[in-house]
C-alpha cells in the first residue's frame, strides 16, 4: 500500500515538473529565410507557432526625411534604394507623381521604353522570387537557372543606364538615354528563350511533389483578410481577387496593351495559399512577356525626353499616385509647398503592409511553414523599412 502511494506521488510530481510552456525564438535579423534583416519573434509550442511578432526597422534610413532636403530630381536615386530588386518600377511611380503635378506630356517613345523596362524589371524581380523561394524550401538549382535569365536583363539595363541594380534611368519628362535597335532585337530574341525556359522552370519546381506539399494549403489568405490588411499585388491576386492597377486604373500607356490579370485558382490546394501566390508570379511573367512583345511591335521613333524646366518647382498641392510594382502597389504621397524640394514625401510600401499580415497568418502553423509564408509574400526589407 505504502509503496503504491509513493508511486502515485512521484507521478504527480513529475507531471507538475513536466508542465510545458511556450518557447520564445528569434528568427532573424540575420536569417537566410527572412530575405534581409527582418526579425520575427516567435512563441512556439514545440513545432507549432503560437504567436509571431515581426520587428522592423533594421534597415531604416528615413528616406522620407532625406527627400525633404533634396531637389526633386535628386530624390530619384533614393527611390531606387528602397526596393532594390525593382528599381525601375520604384522610379516610375515617383516620376509619375511629379509629372502629374507639372502636367508634363511624355513622348510616345519614352512611354514605350518605360513600359518595356518596367516589365523587364518585373520579370527580373519575379525570377529573383522564384530562385530564392526555391532555396527557402530546400532546392538550390532553380536559383542558378533564374539568375542566368536575370543576368540578361541586368546586362541590358547596364547598357541603358550604366548600372546593374540602381539605375536612375527614368527621369522627369522621359528616360535618360534612348534604346537602340540592336538592343530591341536582342530583347525580342531573349523573350523567345525566356518563354521556353519559364515553362521548363515551372514544371521543374511548381509541379514538384515536395514543393506542392510544402506550399499547398499553407497560409491561406482570404479576400476579406486581404482587404482588411490592404494587401495588394500578387498577394491580393493570389487570394482570387481580380485587381491590377495596370488594368483597373491604367497609368502610362497600359491601356493600349492586351494582357490578362492572373488570379489564384487553388489548383493544388485552396485559393489563396502559398502555391497560388507562387503561380500568380510565374504566370505574370508570361503576361509581362506579352506586353513587352506588343511594345516591341508598337514602338515609335522620336525623342525620349520632353521639355522640362531646368529647376523643377512643383506647384502647391498634394497628390497620391499608385503604381503596380512586382511586389504590390506602390504609392507616393507628395505634398508640395511650391518650393524646389518636396515638403513631404510619403512612400506607401506594399511590403510594409504585407509584413503586418504575418502576425495573423502565423498562429497554428509549423515553423517550417512560416519560412514558406515569408517567402511567398516576397518582401524586400529595403522597402519595408525605407
Amino acid at each position: 500500500m505504502e509503496e503504491n502511494n509513493n508511486h502515485s506521488n512521484i507521478e504527480t510530481e513529475t507531471e507538475e515538473k513536466l508542465k510545458t510552456d511556450l518557447l520564445t525564438l528569434n528568427m532573424g535579423p540575420q536569417h537566410p529565410a527572412t530575405h534581409g534583416v527582418l526579425r520575427v519573434e516567435i512563441k512556439t509550442d514545440s513545432e507549432i507557432v503560437a504567436e509571431a511578432t515581426p520587428h522592423l526597422g533594421y534597415l531604416h534610413r528615413c528616406m522620407e526625411k532625406h527627400c525633404e532636403n533634396l531637389e526633386y530630381r535628386q530624390v530619384i536615386p533614393f527611390c531606387d534604394r528602397m526596393d532594390y530588386l525593382a528599381a525601375m518600377n520604384m522610379e516610375w511611380g515617383y516620376v509619375l507623381a511629379i509629372e502629374k503635378m507639372l502636367g508634363t506630356e511624355i513622348t510616345p517613345r519614352a512611354q514605350y521604353v518605360r513600359t518595356m523596362v518596367a516589365e523587364l524589371q518585373r520579370i527580373a524581380s519575379h525570377l529573383m522570387f522564384f530562385g530564392t523561394y526555391a532555396i527557402d524550401l530546400g532546392a538550390f538549382s532553380p536559383f542558378l537557372y533564374a539568375f542566368q535569365d536575370r543576368e540578361f536583363i541586368l546586362r541590358i539595363f547596364e547598357e541603358l543606364s550604366g548600372v546593374r541594380l540602381l539605375y536612375n534611368y527614368i527621369w522627369v519628362g522621359g528616360v535618360w538615354r534612348d534604346i537602340n535597335d540592336d538592343q530591341l532585337k536582342r530583347i525580342s530574341t531573349f523573350l523567345e528563350t525566356l518563354e521556353e525556359n519559364l515553362k521548363k522552370y515551372h514544371s521543374l519546381v511548381g509541379e514538384n511533389k515536395i514543393f506542392i506539399e510544402r506550399t499547398a494549403n499553407v497560409a491561406k489568405i482570404t479576400p476579406e483578410l486581404a482587404y482588411e490588411y490592404g494587401a495588394t499585388g500578387p498577394v491580393l491576386r493570389g487570394a482570387g481577387v481580380k485587381w491590377d492597377l495596370r488594368k483597373d486604373r491604367p497609368y502610362g500607356i497600359y491601356d493600349k496593351f492586351d494582357f490578362d490579370v492572373i488570379t489564384g485558382k487553388g489548383e493544388k490546394g485552396t485559393v489563396g495559399d502559398c502555391w497560388d501566390r507562387y503561380q500568380v508570379r510565374i504566370l505574370e511573367m508570361f503576361e509581362s512577356i506579352k506586353i513587352i512583345k506588343q511594345c516591341l511591335d508598337g514602338i515609335e521613333e522620336g525623342p525620349v525626353m520632353a521639355k522640362v524646366p531646368k529647376i523643377i518647382k512643383v506647384p502647391e498641392g498634394e497628390i497620391f499616385v499608385r503604381t503596380e510594382c512586382p511586389r504590390g502597389e506602390l504609392g507616393y504621397h507628395l505634398i508640395s509647398d511650391g518650393g524646389k524640394t518636396p515638403y513631404r514625401l510619403k512612400v506607401k510600401s506594399s511590403c510594409f503592409t504585407h509584413t503586418s499580415m504575418l502576425g495573423d497568418l502565423a498562429p497554428g502553423m509549423l515553423i517550417a511553414d512560416l519560412v514558406a509564408t515569408i517567402g511567398s509574400i516576397d518582401i524586400v526589407l529595403g522597402e519595408v523599412d525605407r
Binding site: L56, G57, H60, C62, E64, K65, N69, L70, K100, M101, Y227, E228, Y229, G230, V241, W243, D248, R249, V314, P315, E316, G317, E318, I319, F320, R322, E329, G331, H333, L334, I335, S336, Y343, R344, K346, K348, F352, T353, T355, S356, D360, D385, R386
Partner: protein
C-alpha cells in the same frame, strides 16, 4: 464624386464639418474635425461609398499644426480618397501639447502598423491602440524624425551618432571649395547644412 462624399459625411456624422479643398494642384482633399475621425472612417467604410481598404495613415508637420492624412481606396467602386484632419499646436504655456487622435484599428487591421509608423515618425498618439510601440526606430529612441524641428541625438546608448571619421566628407569639402573658388552659380549645389 468628392462633393457627394462631403455632403454624405455632413449628413451622416453630425459635427464633423467636412470641407473640400480642390483649388490646389493635384488631388482634392477632404478635411474633417479630429474628434469625429473614427465615425467618419466608419461611415466611409460601411456607407454607400464602400471604402474597404485603408492604404496609408501618415502625417505632415506644419508650423502651426499637424495634418494627419488617411488615404482610403475602394476596390468595388474603383475610387480613392485623401481624408485629412488638422491637429493644432497650442503653444500657450510654453509647453506644446502632443497631438492625439482616436485609433481606427477596429475598422481596418492595416491601421495597426500605419498608426504605429505615424506615432514613430511624427509623435501622433493614437488612443486605445492595441500595440502602441515604435516600429521603425528603436524603442528607446528620442524624438520624432519627421517633425521639422527634429535634431538627431548626438549620443545614443553610449554610441556616437554619425562619427566624423565615418562620414565621407570628401564630396562636401570639394563642393565647398569650388563654391569659394567660383561662386555659387557655377557649381552644383551641395547638401544643405
Amino acid at each position: 464624386m468628392h462633393n457627394d462624399i462631403v455632403k454624405f459625411l455632413n449628413e451622416s456624422v453630425s459635427g464633423c464639418e467636412a470641407t473640400l479643398r480642390d483649388d490646389l494642384a493635384g488631388d482634392p482633399v477632404i478635411f474633417v474635425n479630429k474628434e469625429n475621425i473614427y465615425d467618419v472612417c466608419k461611415n466611409l467604410k460601411e456607407g454607400k461609398f464602400e471604402f474597404n481598404v485603408l492604404q496609408v495613415i501618415t502625417g505632415t508637420d506644419y508650423e502651426d499644426r499637424y495634418e494627419v492624412s488617411y488615404i482610403l481606396a475602394s476596390y468595388s467602386k474603383n475610387s480613392e480618397l485623401i481624408l485629412k484632419t488638422k491637429l493644432n499646436k497650442d503653444k500657450d504655456e510654453n509647453k506644446e501639447t502632443e497631438p492625439v487622435l482616436d485609433t481606427v484599428t477596429s475598422l481596418w487591421k492595416a491601421a495597426n502598423f500605419q498608426e504605429r509608423e505615424c506615432y514613430d515618425m511624427l509623435g501622433v498618439t493614437f488612443t486605445n491602440h492595441p500595440d502602441p510601440r515604435r516600429i521603425l526606430c528603436p524603442d528607446d529612441w528620442k524624438g520624432f524624425p519627421l517633425r521639422k524641428d527634429y535634431v538627431v541625438e548626438e549620443v545614443y546608448n553610449g554610441m556616437t551618432v554619425n562619427p566624423a571619421e565615418k562620414i565621407n566628407s570628401a564630396d562636401h569639402n570639394y563642393f565647398q571649395e569650388m563654391k569659394e573658388k567660383y561662386g555659387d552659380k557655377k557649381v552644383m549645389h551641395s547638401w544643405k547644412k
